[in-house]
């Protein structure tokens, strides 16, 4: 029979993107082709033949050759969406064989609107995954927690795995210099989480393994779940090269600025503001409790002119003629300072990939580039990503794969965050904030006349000029990272196979901090370098035996081993004062701290095995076992074994189901994971501290080591079912889980009267319970008409503290303070029986009926030792709603994110309220104010408060006194429009014969936010010390919404 060459393209019916690697077979003949990187296939067939087109995750489609005109649309199949999932060690398994919950995202779902931080691309798309953004925009750390927190001491972060090999998602933060609020204290800088650097365009799919059952084979590091990333492979035919180009440009604008009152300027309530003496003696005049704005009222302000000088120049310029006085200027409001300060950020992400291959070999090469210019100063982020992947089959028995990813990231300036003058948001909202009469335009002058690099031009000397901070007090970095792995497979017999694999994640990060002369913390400038060298190596082998002809039972057993070694070197050099300005080199150091050199190494050896057995594909049983030997535990206790087992049954294949039910599976699993300790937890040491002049000083290390530590364990159980109706148009996946962590190795705080501030002990217990629901639906489905698919991801999780080390009733695992003002700190205390994540703080004393008790007209705050629960930073539930519409060549997607419940503490609000910037501080400005509450009478009864105080006193020292914490707690509930994409696909753009297509989309991220507090974004993290903390908005940069366009071109 006559054959002809048939060329066609296979695209996704929902989002119109190419389906790569789809199988195209001629019906009845064992012959076919595979679609290439552009979705194109080419084969020879008779005109009468019928093609059978199939691909994982899609409904198989039969098309007669004669009917092939345009692209062939494959409809995503809810049933088979997760047919094959990549589980631990990179081993693929059938979804229905799994006895535990996993969720997989495809390339389209991940990179539909790529975020510069890969972790953020998961937001709203996976049940049980909670992601919180960092506080300084693009480049910040995003915190990801799966199924809640089960550790006091750990990060509770999942393990990231690329092609079966773990990589680091941690950030090695700069070692802090603690000098209270004094000189030489460098602000925190968020260098971003490790996984943020992965190129979303290289990701073929991401599988989220949620519980320890799924991750038992990765060991302790995966006890909080694992994000298993499979990178794209080259797929093409006959050596043709498929090219895909993707470009996205977005602009970032500030989501919301705080609402400010515009009626009163600086002053302390009793005395009018006047700029005096360089601002040195006028702190009274910084809070906004001064005179009402009045353009006819003239006052000397910092930018009041006198000839070529302004007031803030005068004390610096010694040669001014005697008697020179600044000209008073009108007393007017400047409430749009933030708006003027923050501009528009731009982010461009470009990626081009080339893929080629044949039956035996395939190659893919990809180059990606990210450029972000922040919305203020010279804050930026650059990233170049190169990746190469090859799979080669040398003989029928021997094959290999190689993956190399080189990432070069850098920035000229990462913003200063945290508390204090180093952070520009402290200038705007810290202490009392920037007075509303300050005109920010004047601050662009930067330096007092004739005092460049010596005296700042500013209105108050506890605030740095914000323009100077963002432009000149820089924190730059250059990071070179290589992630790679190589794997060799050998098929001894059809039943027996083996692989060896080694993977590496290594980087060097060279950071530099520069501080100009004349800043609050660095009057003589400063310079520091921090160099981090990180190496992680994982080597695995696995032997797999899958006997044939075992009748109705199918068996697979495997055994292998792993060696994990991690080493971190950190070197810090600091000059806290310089000889001459503008030369950032240690040769220019006036004072030099001794270099700090920290080395940390650890290793774990493991042997593991697993066995899978199933009966007729109806019932599956998986068991695993792993033994670890860890370098961080005492030698007699460093070996520990942990097992897991899971069971699943395809009920719908065993029993006949009612008509609407098309699939029903139940599953059950239990698993244990052991954890080791941090390095150097078992031997007591003496710490070397900064020498005095040149005399060496040592002290006993405040943390008491423990040579009797044993591994801690997490036991977890989960059960669930998956049910689909109406030919899989509706599917529900439900999971209930419970986990218990015990013997946790914690650094318990001990009273310093014991000689130590903390001690390593085994003892923490946490119980974590939750449910996850994933609802898939295809409300509209038609071949050439409107298609609509959606997924709801719901999760509810509660971690409860069920035990603490002996003798402890409460364990403070973190706190946040302004400098070292311990007496007004927010504390995270674990208390037995309480929910994990409780925020403790000082509160207003209240009468039995709940009214605030007043004394002398001001509310009474509890003592510094008297704190209570003010809220909990964990949500009650999270609901993500992912949607995809398509109609002809149009497609539209959007993701909503709803977080219900939880609280956070806002330092920005503290500044706005105490500093009189907020409209909430307007009542009582003219006549004083009588606080709502009661007074304690001498006879022990209460009567209504009648004492009137001035507004300044009431707000500054009373209701918004920062020693009380409860006024600054807000609900963290929010609803966000996380992602929107509206696209159109142009077909045949290179002529009718060419399958090349172009998709152009408008994209947006974080477009809408609905939440209680109108001033700040509730989704924020604080970075304190070396810890990322949720539940605290710590003078964050305003969060941004981004929108732009995306072009995807493939041929």
């Amino acid at each position: 029979q006559q054959t002809q060459t048939i060329t066609g393209k296979v695209i996704d019916a929902a989002d119109r993107t190419a389906v790569i690697g789809a199988n195209v077979r001629i019906k009845g003949i064992n012959k076919g082709a595979v679609t290439d990187a552009s979705g194109i296939f080419k084969l020879n067939a008779s005109p009468e033949a019928t093609l059978v087109i199939s691909y994982i995750g899609y409904l198989t489609k039969e098309v007669p050759v004669a009917m092939i005109h345009g692209p062939v649309l494959l409809t995503p199949d809810a049933k088979t969406l997760n047919t094959v999932v990549v589980t631990a060690l990179g081993i693929s398994k059938q979804s229905k064989a799994l006895g535990y919950s996993v969720q997989t995202l495809t390339a389209n779902q991940i990179a539909s609107v790529p975020d510069p931080n890969l972790v953020n691309d998961l937001q709203g798309k996976v049940a049980g995954v909670q992601i919180t953004n960092g506080s300084a925009g693009v480049g910040s750390t995003s915190r990801i927690v799966i199924r809640g927190e089960n550790s006091f001491s750990g990060t509770n972060q999942p393990l990231f795995v690329v092609d079966g090999v773990p990589i680091s998602n941690d950030t090695y933060f700069n070692d802090a210099v603690n000098n209270s609020s004094n000189q030489g204290t460098w602000a925190e800088v968020d260098w971003g989480n490790g996984a943020s650097e992965l190129n979303p365009n290289d990701v073929e799919k991401m599988t989220v393994l949620k519980g320890p059952a799924a991750a038992a084979l990765y060991g302790a590091r995966a006890s909080n779940g694992a994000i298993v990333i499979t990178t794209k492979k080259g797929r093409s035919k006959d050596g043709l090269v498929g090219v895909t180009f993707n470009s996205q440009t977005t602009v970032e604008t500030v989501m919301r600025f705080p609402e400010l009152q515009n009626q009163y300027g600086a002053g302390n309530g009793s005395v009018d503001y006047k700029y005096v003496n360089g601002g040195g003696s006028t702190e009274n005049n910084i809070p906004n409790f001064g005179r009402a704005f009045d353009p006819n009222y003239l006052v000397v302000q910092f930018d009041s002119p006198q000839g070529p000088y302004m007031a803030a120049d005068l004390n610096a310029v010694k040669t001014l003629p005697a008697g020179t006085l600044p000209t008073p200027t009108p007393w007017v409001a400047h409430t749009d300072n933030l708006n003027k300060f923050f501009g528009v950020g731009v982010t461009t992400q470009n990626n081009i990939s080339f893929a080629t291959g044949d039956d035996r070999n395939n190659y893919r090469f990809s180059v990606g580039n990210l450029y972000n210019h922040g919305n203020v100063g010279n804050i930026d982020l650059m990233r170049n990503m190169f990746s190469f992947r090859a799979e080669n089959k040398y003989t029928d028995k021997l094959s290999s794969s190689i993956y190399v990813n080189y990432i070069n990231s850098s920035s000229d300036n990462r913003p200063n965050i945290g508390y204090g003058s180093e952070n520009v948001m402290y200038t705007f909202h810290g202490v009392y904030g920037m007075p509303l009469n300050v005109n920010i335009e004047s601050l662009k002058k930067l330096w007092a006349a004739g005092q460049t690099d010596q005296t700042q031009f500013r209105y108050w000397n506890n605030h740095d000029n914000p323009y100077l901070t963002v432009n000149d007090n820089t924190n730059s970095f250059k990071k070179n990272r290589i992630i790679g792995n190589a794997q060799l497979n050998y098929q001894f017999t059809p039943e027996l196979s083996a692989f060896v694999r080694t993977g590496i994640d290594t980087y060097t990060d060279d950071r530099q901090g520069e501080r100009v002369f004349g800043t609050v913390r660095f009057p003589n400038g400063g310079f520091r370098t921090d160099n981090v060298t990180y190496v992680e190596n994982n080597t695995d082998f696995l032997l797999n035996y899958k006997p044939k002809n075992t009748g109705e039972f199918h068996v697979n057993v495997a055994g292998g081993g792993n060696r994990f070694k991690q080493s971190i070197n950190y070197v810090r050099n600091i000059a806290n004062s310089l000889i001459a300005p503008d030369l950032y080199n240690f040769s220019n150091a006036l004072t030099l701290l001794p270099p700090e050199y920290i080395r940390q190494e650890r290793a774990t050896y493991s042997l593991y095995g697993f066995g899978d057995i199933d009966y007729k594909g109806l019932v599956y049983l998986n068991v695993t076992g792993r033994n670890d030997w860890s370098s961080t535990l005492p030698t007699n206790r460093n070996s520990y074994f942990y097992p897991s087992a899971s069971l699943s049954a395809i009920v719908s294949d065993i029993f006949k189901m009612p008509e609407p039910v098309s699939f029903f599976k139940i599953r059950l699993s239990g698993a244990q994971v052991g954890h080791d300790a941090d390095p150097y937890s078992i031997n007591n040491t003496f710490t070397t501290i900064t020498p005095f002049n040149s005399t060496p000083l040592t002290t006993i290390t405040n943390t008491l080591a423990n040579s009797n530590l044993k591994p801690s364990t997490t036991d977890s159980y989960e059960g669930g079912f998956e049910i689909r109706f109406l030919k899989d148009r509706i599917g529900l996946d439900a999971t209930y889980y419970i986990s218990n962590t015990k013997d946790e190795i914690v650094q318990v705080p001990v009273p310093i009267s014991s000689g130590y501030s903390a001690a390593f002990v085994n003892g923490g217990k946490i119980r974590d319970k939750g449910i996850e629901l994933v609802l898939n639906a295809a409300p509209l489905r038609s071949e050439n008409g409107l298609n609509w698919t959606m997924t709801f991801n719901f999760s509810h999780d509660v971690s409860t503290v069920t035990g603490l080390p002996d003798g402890l009733s409460s364990y403070k695992y973190a706190d946040v303070t302004q400098y070292d003002r311990y007496y007004r700190s927010i504390q995270y205390n674990a208390v037995v029986g309480e929910r994990f994540g409780n925020i403790y703080g000082r509160y207003f004393k209240r009468a039995p009926d709940g009214q605030i008790i007043y004394q002398n007209g001001l509310p009474v705050t509890s003592d510094e030792t008297d704190r209570k629960v003010l809220g909990n930073y964990n949500p009650d539930f999270i609901l993500g709603w992912y949607n995809n519409f398509s109609y002809k060549n149009f497609n539209f997607g959007m993701t909503w994110d709803w977080r219900q419940g939880g609280s956070y503490y806002s330092y920005t609000e503290l500044g706005l309220l105490q500093g009189g910037m907020s409209p909430l501080t307007l009542p009582g400005r003219t006549d004083g104010i009588v606080g709502q509450g009661v007074m304690l009478n001498a006879n022990g009864t209460y009567s209504p408060n009648t004492v009137k105080v001035t507004a300044a006193n009431y707000y500054l020292n009373g209701i918004y006194n920062p020693n009380n914490n409860e006024e600054f707690i807000y609900s963290a509930t929010y609803l966000k429009l996380r992602e929107v994409k509206l696209g159109y696909t142009f077909k045949h753009i290179l002529g009718k014969q060419s399958p090349a297509s172009l998709n152009a989309s408008l994209v947006g991220r974080n477009l809408l936010l609905f939440t209680q507090n109108k001033d700040v974004d509730p989704e924020n993290l604080a970075l304190r010390g070396n810890k990322i903390l949720p539940g605290i908005e710590f003078l964050s940069y305003p969060s941004t919404r981004s929108f732009g366009f995306n072009v995807n071109f493939s041929f």
Partner: protein, 471 residues
Amino acid sequence: CKKEFQKLNKNPNTLEVANDPSLVGNIEVNSFFNSAYNAWTLGNGMSQYATFSQSYYNTLARYIPASNQPYWQVLYTDARDANQVITDSKANGNTAMQAVGLILRSYSFAQLTDLWGDIPFKNALQGQNGNFAASYDGQQTVYTDPALGVLPSLRAADSLLKSSVTAITGDLIYAGDITKWRKFCNALRLRYLLRASSKLSSAAAEMQKIVSDGTIFQSASESAELTLPSSVPYAFPSITERSGDYSIKYLNTLLYNFFVNTGDQQRLTLLFAKNVTNQNATGFNFSYYGGMPIVSDANTAQVNSASGFNSSIFLSSPSSPVLKARVITYQEVEFILAEASLKGLITTGSAATYYVNGITGAYADYGIDAVSTAAYLSNPSVVYNPANALNQIITQKWVGNFDVGFEGWIEYRRTGIPAFDAASANLNGGKISTRFLYPPDEQTINAVNYKAELQVQGGTESTSYKAWWEK
């Protein structure tokens, strides 16, 4: 892999064996630096030398019940490190180092009990034995316990040094001079003996014995003090302070009045600047300076009339003798002896002589010349007046202890001299507080013992509770 593991888990960043000289150096730096640091940031306010003008920063100086947790931590870690030195030097027979350990530990415990009252003491510092919850002991025990008490320990240290033939190493205060260490030890003994003298019948005899032995400070040059470097982290706190924190510190009215009443132009002009109103005035007049009463938030009139600190010393002269970190000085010892003599606790010497020596020493501490010192001593209100002697002695000692920890406040609690202002902007119910609260860590993680101590204090913790010598 066992060998590899042992190698991997050996901490490459810190020592695993003690090095006593560097431990001693660190305890000294901690003790002396923190004496200056705590004084500058809080003690000068509580002792009413200085007024902090802003409510945002000054609540602790206005006696709000507070724990001062950071200082508590420093003192216990110092005592812990001193214990290590004592244990090591006992084992290797270095009696001089053992004495140094005893002296430094005694100072830490004395600070703790003078500032907090009853404290975890006999069972304290036992963490390495697994005992993290130390019970509280009364102040009398801290002072007098035969094994660990401040006074017996110091007595033992003096006799160890007296007969010691071993060397002190790592010492930043006296470069290992054993005689000077004895004088430092005896200065502390005199301070604590006088403090306990109304409760401790043996105090007088022991004081007399020390005086008779004669190994006590002979001049300001022998004072226990540490010259601080000019850069962080050990610079005098004002040098490296944020300018906004520095600029809220003013001369307190009580100290200003003292300067005016005794004609103390030298110390006034050395420590303080002219007020804003008179900042351009030339020459000297007491009216160019001014004090600030204790305030919540100072108003402009108060800001303009009060003197700030002298920036040419406190911001730009890191080597000025004013900016030394001091624990106990010659002048204090002389005033202690003056009071002891006046009260008949000792019989050697005369109160008047000790009093004059004290003032001479206080002036010498700041490097003020002999002519000015003589002029000041001849001021009629300075000249020793038997009718008003106790008041003169204690008040002069109060001034002399400017910037020495919390000594001004502690001695006020003992003597009521000079008359502190308890009315203005006071956040402790109109009273000068008598102690700090126990830190939150004690309350939460040493809860059982903390609660037991509360029973001793009458059920609730208060900053008006008086421990032993103060009762």
